[in-house]
Assembly symmetry: C2
Amino acid sequence: PAVDTVGDLDAFRELMRSSAATMYTNVERVALSALSDWYECTDTGAFRHRSGRFFTIEGVSVDVPSMPIPRWDQPIIRQPEIGILGLLVKEFDGVLHCLVQLKAEPGNCNGIQVSPTVQATRSNYTRVHGGTETPYLDYFRDRARHRVLVDVRQSEQGSWFLSKRNRNMVVEVSGDVEVHDGFGWLTLAQVHDLLGQDDVVNMDTRSVLACLPFGEPAPDERSRHSTGELLGWLTETRASVDISVRRKPIRELNGWHYDGNIVTHEDSRHFDVIGVVVQAHGREVGTWDQPMIAARGTGLTAFLRTTIDGVPHVLVHAKVEPGIFDVAEIAPTVQCAPETYIHLPRQTWPPFLAELLTADASRIRLDVTQSEEGGRFLRTRSRNLIVDVDEPVEHPDYRWVTVSQLAELLRHSHYVNIQTRSLLACLRSLRDSPTAVESIV
Amino acid sequence: PAVDTVGDLDAFRELMRSSAATMYTNVERVALSALSDWYECTDTGAFRHRSGRFFTIEGVSVDVPSMPIPRWDQPIIRQPEIGILGLLVKEFDGVLHCLVQLKAEPGNCNGIQVSPTVQATRSNYTRVHGGTETPYLDYFRDRARHRVLVDVRQSEQGSWFLSKRNRNMVVEVSGDVEVHDGFGWLTLAQVHDLLGQDDVVNMDTRSVLACLPFGEPAPDERSRHSTGELLGWLTETRASVDISVRRKPIRELNGWHYDGNIVTHEDSRHFDVIGVVVQAHGREVGTWDQPMIAARGTGLTAFLRTTIDGVPHVLVHAKVEPGIFDVAEIAPTVQCAPETYIHLPRQTWPPFLAELLTADASRIRLDVTQSEEGGRFLRTRSRNLIVDVDEPVEHPDYRWVTVSQLAELLRHSHYVNIQTRSLLACLRSLRDSPTAVESIV
């Protein structure tokens, strides 16, 4: 049923509860070799769909001579086509609302999550899977007909996806919009409220929300570094790091094992590649099977935050990852799987991990666990953490930046990674952060 | 000899004349199969240096289903490493000067041209060729020690180079700088004067100069389109165009012929790949051989320009080329080899080519022929043309933009192509264009 009360958060929450009865997925784990729509390609040693479309799971060998770990092998999802993540927004009584969708995806740990108006891979919207047409997609197909507030390609997780990018769009409409079943209009403040809860607002929504302009930009002179300096710092990293990513059959990956059932790391670390059979009830096609990635343990995505000259700054670094489009992107203070490190000597930990894990509760401004994309990742989650510190600690490979600077960089593609975007979206749920999104209308 | 008089253009011109006696290259054309340092790789069908470094000349098959010519084969230069084009600048008596270098390159049609302070491929500066160390390179290696005004990676010709990018840098120094033989300090205005002459300022210098901030930005509201709209327009092109570039042995390229001597197009169009033996006299290593690209005919690189609401605008489009890093970049109004079209019916010509070729002399604001990079291209030149029109003619695939908007985009990598950068540099030689480069110091 559609929510007929625009901007009614209680009604929307009730819709989430009631929809759970009719919109859900049953996910059964099966051996990768037992998938019927997918096969292990003998030429490439990758898992492919029989149609040749959607995505593949491939093996890669990564060389980055300048990094602490200069060489490793891993499986990775290859999905080079550019999908659309589209959010429709509209003013009701002078307040901007966005049209969100309740969506059940097989990887979700809690069934339904809040997704953007449109979340379509190119396979989706050219209807390779034989499903119904994606609702509202036309609003995002023709830039000239509507007011486009955001239109930028952004990368997804660079350690799991090879060159995966989505076009993040926010389009403002003024006319009437039919509200289909499972969709509802919420104000941005209401979506930000939902962002304060675990596993409610999905990754794609967080990605798009982060690309919205973020109030008035702080003047450059009140930032620790000028935006030009930050761009130069990125240029230096991107120009000086040599990274090579070569394909390799999954069965030949060093440190990984595939027995016909699942692909696992020999130390039971990082993630598994598994097979699932999905039965979907609701709007989507009834049943299919697919490989998925299931991370070992919950990730950590965290900012240290401080105030410099009266302006809040967060600490970021330029992270090199094999899958991103252009060598390195701006990443949060820490982005890692803590389980990988907690048994190792502390001097091998990533910078600032210890400070974040041991921060006094009074310092923690945000602590919410969010899900990765439920179409590719099975019950894979990250703790989004923001910890305030009194002094801007310095580290040669890290930079303190303002949220306005990140917003300015988000007008462009490929500067700010998905983990940082998720944190930026969550940051907006805080009462003490600027919420001047209204200024764009 | 070094120019001991800073900012003396007459002395610099005299130095160019006198240097020609001691600094020159003899270039002898030889069959590709007769090159001793290069060979045709039997695995890939590409031309490679025996060291495995420098660059390769490969064949590619290009598919772009949405373009008027949806598929073609061609040879292309592959040089994935990122070199440095660095310009050192310094204030003398309150006026910004830049340290330029006289450089003889084998492809130059006139011997010596003015190049940036540093023009180094990674092979150069790691000294693969066994030559002497690149002077002044240290100023560009450590961002922290100097004031960095420009630091951005920009692409080279996307129809001749596969993913070739250089790091364009401008670094300001305050201390004493030793002036080596063949180098001299010129004011920006003097370099702009030289840009008004044919074949004097080389392509790398034009590329770097175009990345300098260009006066005060015009307020966005006086531009025909907001910068956000322009970014969205580029996103749309880049997200919607499917381009595939697959490698193919040069001997198997459709429409091309290799007889052991040169690689030519069957209609004698586009360009040839040739072999040369180079004897260099001057600072560089004595003798070597290499393949080069020799274009058929002189290219055309042109802006239509008009004034909208008192602000000058130029007409650009988003050009898809196989070699650029990210599908499409902003290109001038026209960028083509006119010889390809002049014998064809006019309706097959690129938009605006006819207007530009037949413009009344009174409309022509700039008409200067510039050389392509002399290390890869033999006597390959483009006519740089700017033609004023009274009214902003409209075309759905083109946009009128201000020079300030292009300067703003040039703070970022991969938005503005090399042909546009060359025109922007030449535009600064015009008396009626803003020259507020001084505002950056």
